[in-house]
Amino acid sequence: MTAFDIVTSGFLISALRSATPLTFALVGETLTQRTGVINLGLEGQLLVGAMCAYAMTAAWGNPWLGLVAGAIAGMALSAVHAALVVGTRANQFASGLAVWMLGFGLSAYYGSSLVGRKIESFESIVPKSVADLPVLGSVIAGLTPTVVLAVLIVPVSALWLWRTRTGLRWRAVGESPEDARAAGANPSLIRIQAILLGGLLSGLGGAALSVDYTRTWAEGMSAGRGLVAVGLVIVARWNPWWTFPAALLFGGAEALSLRLQTADANVSAHLLHCLPYVASLAILTLTYVRGRVSSAPAGLRAVMDR
């Protein structure tokens, strides 16, 4: 199999589709962490988003409604983290874990009736005839709205973070809340906004996962993507531009593991399922070995050190 075959045979599009839910969560967490808050509850927000989106789509038959519902659900759950961390100054790790477990439990409980239900989901955004184009035809034909949205959210969030006053304020709060306050920003408010935006995006990621990627609901279906996202934020160096390659790496590893299974590779399916996580772990280790992670927001160090 040559590299050319890999691209044309649909590997690229399956990597892209697998990376889509992760990209949303990753961009959201990157923005949250830029203000100096870590949200480990991402996993729970993904699950709640996936469940609500799936339920909405199943009930109304409109996947767009599902995306909206998923985003709102993710944001609602992250409000718990915001209330605990900003409101009561609770430990961010403890609060994040609580949110994760809460999301897991809620989504499992309310999602139990959804198991096995079928939904109408997104069609490809391009007409069938395009699929016959040489080379990239199959890739373009596989594009669904969530994939396009994920690809768009990366530059939008990057431009927003680097080139707007709001982004500047967020970064300032992440570096030094006291100095940002002295400069007229409200650190508590900005952190709440950042946590909620992270929740919204991870809910959207969960929605993309259940409604578009797997097109099914299963308990715990996010399978650690939320935690992977927390790790990949470091790989992406808190830079929205780098979130996409980082997510693609995970997506590529997952696509590869699926491909190897169908190719009857003589390896346990359980081991193959580990591939994306091993790849993420490896790249995270490499990031640290290559040098100091100097682009970390200074405010995060205070969280990590406690």
Partner: protein, 497 residues
């Protein structure tokens, strides 16, 4: 804008920080607010800046009492403050920092805030040589202060408060600041200069107000006062002890030999440093900030690993590359910025004071004993307030410096490395700090003293070595005659000729 403080009182626990203070601040004049550490001048200005609410009293602007619930409110009224601890964000660029504080910044700021119109006008006026796209963390302290000033002036400030602005500056930087302050006042802006340096008053103040123990004890026109009169107002009837170092025996063997040392630190590199310090000798290190002083100090204290060479005490190696440090209490280190480099900010004073003997503490620590030892030390070194249970971060800069001195100088070190040991200290406390250093020297200690205050170095050190770009540009005996040579070395005029 004519601003008056009327009958301001503020109490913190047992101390009356401000006791019925009334002060007039006219526009277009520079008022120097003098006072020792803890005299209440910072408290007064924080009240004016809306950071602290007074217990009683009013702030009156142009005859109208105003409320100052927050710094934001003060800023809106045109009151700006530059703190001793800078409030710029190190990881952001100069432009980004200015854009952050500027209320007229548009929503789209562009990459690195390069699209904000008019952002740099003030900075260009006062500091044309600052690179606006540099990260603040890479700027020397003098430039950081200029950016800080530009930031405050960008806010249409009509009253500018400067909290001990010259404390962190070299002589040349301070002179630049003084002329800046004059220019700012010439534009009709009122300036309050919180300071305890008489040089600041001489150089740029129109009026002087003196505070002592929370009270305003005197006010005069700067031209009408002389240094002795000010000093009397400052310290009351206490006399300032004069200190001097003892002569040193020159033929003595080196107590400390910094031998051919090279090292790389976060704030600079040093190369091929070779210095010998005799027992009882005070070796001053002069140089413009950022020429490797911090790295030299860190290397001699064993904080930064050496790349090459060794540091020996009485012929025994203390530090060398790939060698576990063997100082075991033989090096006392007073680093710069003690809050960052020398204390655990959220540990109690008692714990901070015992950090040095951490290895020899019993397994079960006797807290009462620890608190008692701490109380004794704090009494000896005049750390205020003397409460062993208080967290270190609540101390003022000067008292932190004294706390670190109490810990480091109370053992029996062979080498004392002191970086800017009197920074943030008032006249009396500075004299006490010098007296302590010289007492250490008298007991046979070698003292490596890093300072930017050439006057003090020339007056108190035995010899002075000048660092330039990480290398020793020259070493000479201290004395008034050496000044020009040292100046030339500092600026690199005859570097390595």
């Amino acid at each position: 804008m004519h601003l008056s403080l009327r009958h301001i009182s503020k109490r913190f626990g047992a101390t009356l920080a401000n006791d019925d203070v009334s002060l007039d601040i006219p526009p277009g004049r520079v008022l120097a607010l003098l006072g020792e550490n803890g005299a209440g001048k910072s408290t007064l200005m924080k009240i004016l800046y809306g950071m602290i609410r007074p217990d009683t009293g009013d702030v009156v602007i142009d005859g109208r009492p105003v409320r100052l619930p927050s710094p934001r409110a003060a800023m809106d009224l045109g009151i700006g403050m530059v703190f001793q601890r800078f409030s710029l964000i190190p990881a952001l660029t100069v432009r980004e920092n200015l854009a952050l504080a500027n209320p007229r910044t548009p929503w789209i700021v562009g990459s690195g805030a390069r699209r904000v119109p008019g952002l740099l006008d003030r900075l260009r006026d006062i500091a044309p040589d600052v690179d606006p796209d540099a990260r603040v963390s890479t700027l020397p302290v003098g430039q950081i202060q200029q950016v800080e000033l530009a930031k405050v002036l960008n806010l249409e400030t009509r009253l500018l408060i400067l909290d001990e602005p010259s404390a962190v500056l070299s002589d040349a930087e301070a002179e630049r600041l003084w002329s800046l302050v004059r220019e700012i006042a010439a534009r009709g802006i009122g300036v309050v200069l919180i300071t305890h340096k008489l040089a600041d008053v001489r150089a740029c103040a129109d009026d002087v107000a003196v505070m002592r123990r929370g009270k305003l004890v005197g006010r005069a026109e700067a031209a009408d006062t002389d240094a002795p009169a000010l000093l009397r107002m400052l310290v009351g009837d206490d006399t300032v002890a004069t200190v001097s170092a003892e002569p040193v025996r020159r033929n003595a063997l080196p107590r400390i030999w910094i031998r051919d040392v090279s090292a790389d630190g976060p704030s600079g590199t040093i190369r091929d440093i070779d210095l010998r310090i005799a027992p009882g000798e005070v070796l001053g290190i002069a140089g413009v900030a950022g020429n490797g002083q911090d790295t030299l100090a860190d290397a001699c204290a064993g904080v930064t690993a050496l790349r090459q060479g060794e540091v020996t005490v009485d012929g025994e190696t203390l530090f060398a590359p790939r060698l576990e440090p063997r100082n075991h209490g033989r090096v006392a280190y007073l680093p710069e910025q003690p809050i960052r480099n020398a204390v655990g900010p959220d540990l109690s004073l008692a714990v901070n004071l015992s950090l040095r003997c951490l290895r020899s503490l019993p397994w079960m620590v006797d807290r009462k004993q620890m608190a008692k030892t701490a109380a004794d030390l704090m009494e000896r070194f005049d750390v205020r307030p003397p409460e062993p249970g208080r967290r270190a971060e609540t101390l003022s800069g000067g008292n932190l410096q004294k706390l670190v001195a109490a810990r480091e100088l109370s053992g029996s070190p062979a080498l004392v490395v002191a970086c800017y040991p009197t920074m943030g200290l008032d006249v009396t406390a500075s004299a006490a700090m010098y007296a302590r250093l010289f007492a250490m020297a008298r007991e046979g200690c070698a003292v490596l003293w890093i300072s930017e205050d050439l006057d003090d170095l020339l007056r108190y050190a035995h010899r002075i070595a000048v660092l330039f770009r990480g290398r020793i540009a020259g070493v000479c005996d201290a004395g008034p005659a050496s000044r020009t040579r040292i100046g030339a070395w500092m600026t690199g005029a005859e570097a390595f000729a």
